[in-house]
């Protein structure tokens, strides 16, 4: 650990805090004040007319069914593009059709915002598939995330005016289109230009073949990288153009590009907290949620940075210079700090990109990556869905805190009753169900174990990591596990689908019951959902719920591996 590393971490968060308010305010204007962009209004009207979107408010069931319908269509289209890519244009390498199980896994993966990559980008997907199929879904998945957040925020902050006129959560199609047009596209254009300036490639050329200095032939994959890269990070998608993701010099060439890639990961999730504050008419609500996120992100970054700065005890008996720490699998142009912070943010958010090999992290460093995801992807989390998940924890925290101060719990003046608790608890229980069941099945069955390259505790971590990444829609991988098998392609696709739409369904159900509730005034006896105490409570609840759920498996996986490595053995 050195001063430079800490400075980089501090600078990133300072810049993030400075950008939160302006971007958050912009988002608020985009979604909640229809008249703020006069020039665009007429264009918007014509576009909606063309798509025959009337834009009337939807209740939660209608909102949820529009959303799920749209996304299932997305899966089908993406599946068909992949399985027919040899017939489609922009395939300079003449790549063959993707096998059905891998295509299904990839389609679900990109639609569910996971971007789990069982394929290897440059060798199995054509430029058309990458650009039209994947990049399009990167926008739609992030847009869907923003939409569900908006629906939930409206559920908490709006209220029905009369009994007949029930409260609505807004219109999914309007939210989606606004997200893509006014938020994701402009930010992506700016960011791609910056990336190109740093040396990220953007072309349609086929793979180039060079003769290296040693005289051997080397192939360099080419393609429209910068455009996909921008939305990969801004939309917390994570699907890189290349298999090596942000470690690849054509995706992430310089320390500066690395710094801004990290910022891009957390930019929109952080700004949304301010938007949420504006929507609830109390910016303190948003700042408190951001404080909880920043605190947990800093904790994670500090832990990883610390563990990765330690030498690998397994190499102690060799005469290897380990002064810098655990550099295996890391790019020297980013160093320990740049890799640790990137890994931390990529698992905090559902970004799931990587600029280092997570499989080579120290056991405890890798455990923090796992924990970041196991917390429920609420430390920033995915675009929209991160805050969405955080609000589920808020509902539970308020439920317990409300009881402890002797009042029937209420959040933003709305009573939290049986129904909301039921959906919130199911939301929380959904993830252990998917993660633990998937992992348990895989470590029992021969078709699960056959993909393992590392036995023992590390093998358990690898499988656990795969199901965690899928269920939480993160998409990063511990590698070391051959995930392109029928078993993993199908089960992970199912886990991704349920992890994404199961949680969205439950959260929207809460929005639906909350929006029709009467707002009760706060009094001196009400526990405020902002301030230091609330932030501490929220962090405490998130940590303890996750800790109690995953303690045994984390002890058997990464922690046991750590204990072994301290004794200088692998298993």
């Amino acid at each position: 650990m050195d001063i430079n590393g800490w400075l980089q971490i501090c600078l990133l968060f300072t810049l993030l805090l400075a950008l939160t308010k302006p971007l958050g305010l912009y988002l608020y204007k985009v979604y909640e004040t229809p008249q703020s962009f006069k020039i665009l209004t007429s264009f918007e009207k014509r576009l909606f007319k063309l798509l025959s979107i009337e834009g009337e408010g939807q209740d939660w069931k209608s909102y949820a069914s529009s959303l799920i319908l749209f996304n299932i269509l997305g899966i089908m289209v993406l599946f068909l593009i992949q399985t027919n890519q040899e017939l489609l244009p922009l395939n300079p390498q003449n790549l063959a059709a993707v096998p059905w199980d891998l295509a299904l896994n990839t389609a679900v993966s990109f639609v569910t915002h996971t971007n789990w990559q069982a394929y290897s980008g440059e060798t199995s997907l054509s430029q058309f598939t990458q650009m039209v199929g994947l990049t399009w879904q990167n926008f739609c998945a992030a847009g869907t995330g923003l939409a569900v957040f908006l629906a939930l925020a409206r559920g908490f902050s709006h209220q029905s005016l009369t009994i007949i006129q029930r409260g609505t959560l807004g219109n999914f199609w309007v939210d989606l289109i606004k997200s893509i047009l006014y938020v994701l596209l402009p930010l992506s254009v700016i960011f791609s230009l910056f990336l190109v300036s740093q040396g990220v490639i953007q072309n349609f050329s086929p793979t180039l073949t060079f003769t290296t200095l040693e005289g051997t032939q080397q192939s360099l994959a080419m393609g429209p990288v910068a455009s996909q890269e921008a939305i990969k990070l801004l939309g917390t998608n994570g699907g890189g153009f290349f298999n090596a993701n942000s470690a690849h010099p054509f995706e992430n060439p310089t320390p500066l590009s690395n710094f801004f890639q990290m910022l891009a990961l957390v930019l929109i999730p952080a700004a949304l907290t301010y938007t949420y504050g504006k929507m609830t008419n109390d910016t303190k609500q948003g700042w408190s949620l951001l404080a909880a996120m920043v605190a947990m992100a800093l904790m994670g970054a500090a832990f990883i940075y610390y563990y990765e700065s330690q030498p690998n005890p397994l190499l102690n008996h060799l005469s290897v210079l380990q002064e810098g720490g655990n550099l295996e699998g890391k790019e020297t142009r980013f160093g320990i700090a740049g890799s640790s912070l990137f890994a931390n943010l990529a698992t905090d958010t559902s970004g799931g990109s990587s600029n280092a090999m997570y499989d080579s992290f120290t056991p405890l460093g890798g455990m923090i990556l796992l924990i970041n995801m196991l917390l429920g992807e609420v430390v920033f989390g995915g675009v929209g869905v991160g805050l969405f998940g955080m609000l589920m924890f808020v509902v539970l925290s308020i439920f317990i805190a409300g009881l402890m101060v002797g009042r029937i719990p209420e959040y933003l003046g709305k009573k939290i009753e049986g129904k909301e608790v039921r959906f919130a608890v199911l939301y929380i229980a959904l993830y252990p169900f998917l993660i633990l069941l998937g992992t348990a099945w895989s470590v029992l069955a021969p078709f699960g174990l056959s993909s393992l390259q590392n036995p023992g505790a590390h093998g358990l971590s690898e499988i656990l990591y795969a199901y965690t990444s899928a269920a939480q829609n993160n998409g990063s991988a511990f590698a070391g596990l051959n995930a392109n098998t029928l078993w993993y392609n199908l089960t992970l696709a199912l886990v991704m689908f349920l992890g994404r739409f199961g949680s969205i369904f439950l959260g929207l159900a809460i929005a639906g019951t909350m929006v029709n509730k009467k707002i009760v005034q706060a009094s001196a006896g009400t526990f405020p959902s902002h301030g230091i105490l609330f932030v501490c409570l929220l962090i405490g609840i998130i940590l303890i719920v996750s800790a109690l759920t995953y303690f045994p498996v984390l002890m058997l996986g990464p922690f046991t591996e750590h204990l072994y490595s301290m004794q200088g053995k692998m298993s």
Binding site: A401, V405, G525
Partner: protein
């Protein structure tokens, strides 16, 4: 008279132990999913014990260990049942002692043709008429339709002084179990036996019949969710252990599961709900539903009548102000004479004040000659005539007319003083005799002693108080300031009350109000929490969702506290339950893998003796903590009127941080004992 002996504490505990055993059946336990899981765990380990006993080749653990685990799991369920049964027993003891009085009574039913017949009280139906003579008990709740009587309500309120109940007044209702001391009454029964307040209340404390309140249901769902998560965690641990080449027994997995699921709160949640009602009952409050008690904790705004609640009910003199050239003693004497036969509360208090402050001025001889002129609404004066000489006291305008008629000089300063007193919110009474205007008596509403403190506590709890009074603005303002209420509503009519409640509710506040008159009924029904006085009319009581047997309107403070305590106890024990899981993990996980991954002994930070003692200690701690917390569940977590933040910080420190630390100590102690006695 029937003497009813309330059951002793020991009796209740003995009876509840029997009940706990009886309720050890799955159908009853299914209502409480957390304990149901423990029940299944107990059954499973018992089956394993039986299997191991007969075919020891199959056993993974020694018999004594499986046996001990099974034993303690059964006790966990038993302790939870006992907690509920004790709460139920206490509540029932209180309610039945009140009810027993009514049920054994024989009632004299009066038919429309005037015939009378004797029937057991239990056969009475609504709208029956009964006659009750002096010294008899009132067999059922009812309304007096004829007569006036003094009634001993001590059996219910504990207050020894008898109260007067009269037909066609706001004091016309009588409660089952009270006794008529004088005169006879004709009563119309207002409730069928089984529907009276007491019966309602008994239903609320009977565990088997009790309806869960909305908040209890929400908590239950939360606990089921946690149980579900831990079921997933524990069942997937078996494959993980197999992967780690470790063979773990079902007994230990069941032990881990039972330790993790929220048994502490799950085992006590029913007892907490029942004892909330029981605490209300102990304060002589009858709640119509458990929900009403919960709502009480949430009250934001409280509407209170001024008279009788905030003030003593009648005005008291505080000062005599003689006119110019009038000796204060002359004024005092005139007041004493005019008030001697005046039996109104004002008259009594003036007489008392004058005699106490200025001494006695009148002789026996004078008293004999006294002719008392009572107060009338037309003259708005009262007084006396003595040997052709008149003394009058009354509203200053009335005395002014009297003086003008008699041709007396009206000193301007008297008019000024009267106006000043009026502006200060007091009542000026002028006094004149046949020759001159003597001066002014300053009467004031006296705020009940101690009421200010109670309002301050309400304020600290976050409750906004509104005083309702028919008085004018100035009077109301003075009293409001003196008593420390937040707002007041002057010159109010019952409609104003109703409107005000609606206004506050529209703003999103939960409103409580106390009332006793029939004209309060709509407001009581509209309020989120309507508390009727036992002395009130049946209409008021029917509209309300609580009845205060002591008819003490400031008892709202206790009611709010009971409501808050109920919720706090649930919250705090839930927090404790979750927090205590941390220590149990540290006890059980290293024990589970001691053979396959001995390195994990690094987690055995408590230094527990052996894997068996570690698991057993955690299970025993888990069972005993329920017993240890029964008193807290029954008494409720202490509520302190402080801001929500401070309250939460305090509770989090005690039950959250404490919940993490205490089990570490507890499990270590149990382990040490187990090792010491050589069991493991």
């Amino acid at each position: 008279m029937i003497e009813f002996k309330p059951q002793s504490n020991r009796g209740i505990i003995l009876e509840s132990l029997g009940l706990s055993l009886k309720r050890l059946n799955p159908v009853y336990l299914a209502k409480n999913p957390v304990m149901f899981v423990v029940f299944i765990g107990g059954s499973l380990t018992t089956l394993i014990l039986i299997r191991d006993y007969f075919s020891s080749s199959l056993s993974q653990e020694p018999l004594w260990f499986t046996g001990s685990i099974a034993f303690w799991l059964w006790f966990t369920v038993l302790f939870s049942n006992a907690a509920e049964a004790i709460a139920e027993g206490k509540g029932k003891a209180h309610a039945f002692s009140l009810k027993a009085l009514a049920q054994t009574t024989i009632a004299r039913r009066v038919h429309d043709n005037g015939e009378e017949e004797f029937v057991p009280a239990i056969q009475l139906r609504r709208d029956d008429k009964i006659k009750i003579l002096a010294t008899e008990f009132i067999p059922a709740d009812g309304e007096i339709i004829e007569g006036i009587a003094s009634i001993d309500e001590s059996a219910i309120t504990g207050e020894s002084a008898p109260v007067i109940r009269e037909s066609e007044s706001d004091m016309s209702s009588v409660i089952a179990g009270t006794r008529v001391l004088s005169n006879s009454l004709l009563i119309r029964i207002t409730s069928n036996p089984g529907e009276s307040f007491l019966d309602q209340m008994i239903h609320l404390v009977l565990a088997a019949k009790r309806q869960k309140t909305p908040n209890e249901i929400a908590l239950q769902i939360f606990l089921i969710g946690l149980t579900l998560i831990f079921l997933i965690v524990c069942s997937t641990l078996i494959p993980f252990a197999l992967y780690a080449k470790s063979n773990i027994s079902l007994t230990i997995i069941v032990s881990l599961l039972v330790c993790l699921i929220p048994t502490t709160i799950g085992g006590l949640v029913s007892a907490i709900g029942i004892s909330g009602i029981e605490r209300a009952l102990r304060k002589n409050i009858l709640a119509m539903s458990g929900k009403a008690v919960e709502t009480a904790g949430d009250i934001d705004v409280l509407l209170l009548d001024k008279t009788g609640t905030i003030t003593l009910g009648n005005r008291m003199p505080v000062e005599l102000i003689p006119g110019e050239n009038v000796d204060v003693k002359d004024l005092a004497k005139a007041l004493q004479l005019s008030s001697y036969a005046d039996h109104t509360p004002e008259g009594r208090s003036i007489l008392e004040f004058v005699v106490k402050k200025y001494g006695n001025f009148i002789t026996e001889r004078e008293i004999e000659k006294l002719t008392f002129i009572p107060f009338s609404a037309e003259t708005r004066m009262s007084g006396c005539d003595i040997e052709g000489y008149s003394i009058r006291k009354g509203a200053s305008s009335a005395i002014q007319k009297f003086a003008e008629r008699k041709g007396l000089f009206i000193p301007p300063e008297c008019t000024q003083i009267a106006e000043q007193i009026g502006r200060k919110g007091g009542t000026p009474l002028a006094v004149a005799d046949s020759t001159r205007v003597l001066g002014i008596v300053y009467l004031k509403d006296i705020v009940k002693p101690g009421i200010r403190d109670r309002f301050q506590r309400l304020k600290a709890m976050g409750v906004h108080t509104i005083m309702i009074t028919g008085d004018n603005f100035f009077t109301a303002q003075t009293i409001a300031e003196e008593a420390g209420v937040d707002t007041f509503l002057a010159e109010a009519t019952p409609e104003h009350k109703l409107d005000r409640i609606r206004q506050e509710q529209a703003k999103g506040f939960l409103v409580a109000m106390t009332g006793d008159g029939t004209n309060d009924a709509p407001a009581l029904a509209q309020a989120d929490l309507g508390i009727a006085m036992a002395s009130g009319t049946p209409a008021a009581k029917e509209a309300a969702n609580m009845v205060d047997l002591d008819s003490n309107p400031t008892k709202i403070l206790e009611i709010i506290e009971i409501g808050k305590q109920l919720l706090m106890t649930r919250g705090c024990l839930t927090t404790f339950s979750i927090a205590s899981d941390v220590a149990k993990y540290f006890a059980i996980i290293p024990a589970l893998f001691i053979l396959s991954i001995p390195e994990l002994d690094a987690l055995n930070i408590m230094g527990l003796g052996s894997p068996y003692s570690a698991v057993l200690s955690a299970v025993i701690f888990n069972a005993l903590i329920i017993v240890a917390l029964i008193p807290l569940a029954l008494k409720g977590v202490k509520y302190r009127p402080m801001g929500a933040k401070n309250l939460l910080a305090r509770s989090l420190l005690i039950y959250g941080v404490g919940g993490i630390l205490v089990p570490f100590g507890g499990i270590k102690i149990i382990d040490t004992i187990l090792v010491y006695i050589g069991l493991v």
